[in-house]
């Protein structure tokens, strides 16, 4: 029997779930022999089902499989939950992947056809709206200019205040007891959120944890303060800087460029087979929601490498609370696509402009040794000194723990320190067994944060491992 979702695994379906509870409920319901399923069917292009559980009215659900194969999440369920996909849609997907032999192959019923037609119309409208948004009109340019000027003014004011704050810290000295208080940093971070510079807010928030790390904290803290000061000085000259440098400054400030703004720049668009080398998911500690006790903003960095071009690309995603990230790709997955890069002196951040294939299991790529990676980084830094994370794919490195200091070393002894924030050190060690493996990750100029590994031709995603 031909698969309804070729190449899909249960794990991939789970990845669509908005939270663990939904995935679990979905799994629980995913039993086509259960009498509550009144129909579970597909014509190969779409799938539909009727589920009659404890509610009065049965739930009808449908999924556009063609779209889903291209990672477009098009589904619908008549249940009233705010979660998307709901447990019923997840159950249907689990059944399609796990028990295709129990799915009835049938002609599309009228209610599914109607929904597909509606969806097609909505998709067309969405596409038109997107196109409209991308089209640059004189009115839009004028409106953007006003918005731009307002935000720039706000950021300038915030940075001027920040400059004085930094100077005061150094005047009093880092040994001042208040420097060790989280509140000291967090309150300033909150001011930078108000100044619409969330990137700086996150940066300041992360500085708050440096004095708590141990005895040698003056140096790393001063490094960060110094770099932040340079950012403020650079921003003062914003108007006279080249457009790409302006874009780099905006990126570090958290003043992210919208996709339709990219058309104003001559940025590269590269068609290639892109393989995910690593994934990082974390929380952004600057959102107002979080300070109000609500669930905060999540961020995900998916690193890809072009098979032919050898280019690295970063897909940066944000999502609130339980909502899903737009990109669902794990280390080892690949896609043929055209990647559009955001403007930068050293373009890394990108978005998928056009997909030419479904997501599939990628080939294994060759990494580079430590020195080659460091050279690439030095080159990138000379173009863009604000790069915060730079992708490395380290070939043949061995995780080692010397006196509680974790490193990744090559057989000849060359090594990089592993970032202290990386929690899966023991798992990395267990994977290697003391032998060279390929490890992908992010280099921040001082330490390496692993985001994926390849062992015995198997990709490992550290994000699924519990915190150790």
């Amino acid at each position: 029997m031909e698969a309804f979702l070729p190449g899909w695994t249960m794990e991939r379906v789970t990845l669509l779930a908005p939270d663990a509870a939904s995935a679990q409920s979905g799994r629980k319901l995913a039993n086509p022999r259960d009498d509550n399923w009144k129909a579970v069917a597909s014509d190969g292009y779409s799938a539909w089902a009727v589920y009659h559980g404890s509610t009065k009215k049965p739930h009808t659900l449908k999924v556009d499989l063609l779209k889903l194969r291209h990672d477009d999440k098009v589904w619908d369920c008549s249940c009233k939950t705010y979660k998307s996909p709901c447990q019923h849609v997840l159950a249907l997907l689990y059944m399609l992947v796990d028990e295709p032999e129990h799915i009835t192959v049938a002609e599309t019923p009228h209610w599914v056809k109607e929904w597909l037609d509606k969806e097609a119309i909505s998709a067309r409208k969405r596409e038109e709206r997107k196109k409209r948004n991308r089209t640059v009109t004189p009115e839009k340019v004028a409106q953007r200019k006003v918005q731009f000027a307002k935000r720039k003014e706000k950021i300038s004011a915030g940075l001027t205040e920040l400059e004085q704050w930094l100077i005061n810290i150094i005047r009093r000295g880092l040994a001042d007891p208040q420097v060790r208080s989280y509140e000291f940093w967090d309150s300033r971070a909150a001011r930078m959120v108000d100044a619409q510079a969330p990137g700086v807010a996150t940066w300041i928030h992360s500085m708050g944890s440096i004095p708590a790390k141990g005895t040698d904290w003056i140096e790393p803290l001063l490094d960060q303060l110094g770099r932040l000061f340079l950012l403020i000085e650079s921003f003062k000259r914003y108007d006279v800087l080249p457009a790409e440098i302006q874009a780099d400054l905006r990126a570090v400030l958290g003043w992210h460029m919208k996709r339709d703004e990219v058309v104003f720049f001559d940025t590269p668009a590269i068609k290639d087979t892109w393989i995910v080398t690593g994934r990082y998911a974390g929380t952004v500690h600057n959102s107002a929601e979080q300070t109000n006790g609500k669930r905060g903003l999540k961020t995900q960095r998916v690193w890809l490498r072009g098979l032919q071009s050898g280019r690295d690309a970063l897909i940066l995603d944000f999502a609130f609370g339980d909502s899903l990230f737009e990109t669902h790709m794990l280390p080892g997955w690949a896609i043929e696509a055209e990647m559009n890069f955001y403007p930068s002196r050293y373009p890394l951040r990108a978005f998928i402009n056009e997909k030419y294939s479904d997501v599939f299991e990628g080939e294994f790529i060759e990494g580079e040794n430590i020195i080659e990676n460091i050279e690439n980084y030095a080159h990138a830094l000379s173009e863009n000194p604000w790069i915060q994370q730079f992708p490395f794919v380290l070939e043949d490195v061995i995780p080692v723990n010397y006196d509680n200091k974790w490193i990744l070393r090559e057989v000849d002894g060359t090594y990089l320190p592993i970032d202290e924030q990386f929690e899966h050190r023991w798992s990395l060690l267990a994977l290697s067994g003391g032998h060279p493996i390929q490890v992908a990750g992010e280099w921040n100029g001082a330490s390496f944060y692993p985001t994926g590994a390849m062992v015995n031709r198997r990709f490992v995603d550290f994000e699924v491992i519990g915190k150790l």
Binding site: R227, I374, A378, V400, T414, A430, G433
Partner: protein
């Protein structure tokens, strides 16, 4: 040079007295920059520190450790064994984060029974879980293999010392469940007449019998009989009962067990117990499926 900059930064530029003398040319350059400019001294120090950081980052030279590599394990072991879904790491993580720990001994039991292996990245999780649940230590020793022993030996991890002297255990036996079944059902029947005493509950927990469907059906039948009696059971009784049986119950009896609890009365607390049992048994089922590769 950096040391001097850090010292000034630590003490504060307001507390700086006299001039700083150094033989370091780079520091001289920065200090001149700092002292000759019209800017505030603190601003100059920050600028100097920022430039220095960038310089160090761009010119980063990886260190070298000449020590020879030791403590490796034969790499061929991994290749010879069949692996099942790495998804199991997600289930173990969930247990590690404090949910559905009741499912862990059973899963481990099957791993030992099947003489199966698992993704190596799960090993530290399993060793830590065995530290938390000593009941699983014997089975962990059985399944962790040479890679696990290597990891413990390498780590010197205090929490993992329980596994330091490892003797391969015998294959777990499943044949004695009837004996256990008889004992636990007698215990459960006592519940029908009086509240479950703590020591009985404890004794039930100590019975590490397998999770067979036959045995579990017996348990569910007994519980249903108990619920059919007139003696009203309090919420505490119900909670303790659920807590006792959930460690050993087979997922195939899920529907019967959950229905028995949810039909007992309509109180929210009872319904919550039923829901929790349902969620636990779903997790157990999904975890076993991931292991069996279904």
């Amino acid at each position: 040079m950096a040391g001097t900059l850090h010292l000034i930064a630590a003490n504060g530029t307001d507390n700086l007295s006299g001039t700083i003398n150094t033989r370091d040319e780079t520091l001289d350059y920065f200090l001149n920059e700092m002292q000759n400019s019209d800017d505030d001294l603190a601003a100059r120090l920050l600028r100097g520190a920022g430039l220095l950081t960038l310089r160090e980052q761009a010119g980063y030279i990886p260190s070298n450790d000449p020590r020879p590599m030791e403590k490796t394990i034969k790499p061929d072991e991994y290749h010879q064994q069949e692996h099942y879904s790495p998804e199991i790491v997600g289930f173990l993580s969930k247990i590690y984060q404090g949910e559905y720990a009741e499912c862990y001994p059973e899963w481990l039991h099957y791993v030992a029974l099947e003489e199966a292996t698992f993704p190596y990245e799960a090993l530290p999780l399993m060793l830590t879980l065995a530290t938390w649940f000593p009941i699983t230590q014997a089975l962990t020793k059985r399944v962790m293999g040479s890679r696990g022993r290597w990891l413990i030996d390498y780590s010197g991890h205090r929490g993992w010392y329980w596994a330091k002297h490892i003797k391969p255990d015998r294959k777990p036996r499943l044949s004695k469940y009837r004996k256990y079944e008889g004992r636990i059902i007698v215990r459960l029947q006592q519940l029908g007449f009086r509240r479950l005493p703590l020591e009985v509950s404890y004794e039930l927990r100590l019975m590490t019998f397998p999770w067979t469907e036959v045995f579990s059906q017996g348990i569910v039948r007994t519980i249903k009989n108990m619920f059919g009696r007139r003696d009203a059971m309090t919420y505490d009784d119900l909670a303790r009962l659920a807590d006792t049986v959930k460690w050993y119950i087979h997922p195939d009896v899920r529907e019967n067990l959950v229905t028995a609890f949810s039909n007992y009365n309509q109180l929210n607390e009872t319904q919550a117990i039923a829901r929790n049992l349902d969620a636990l048994l779903s997790f157990r089922s999904a975890m076993l499926d991931a292991f069996m590769g279904e």
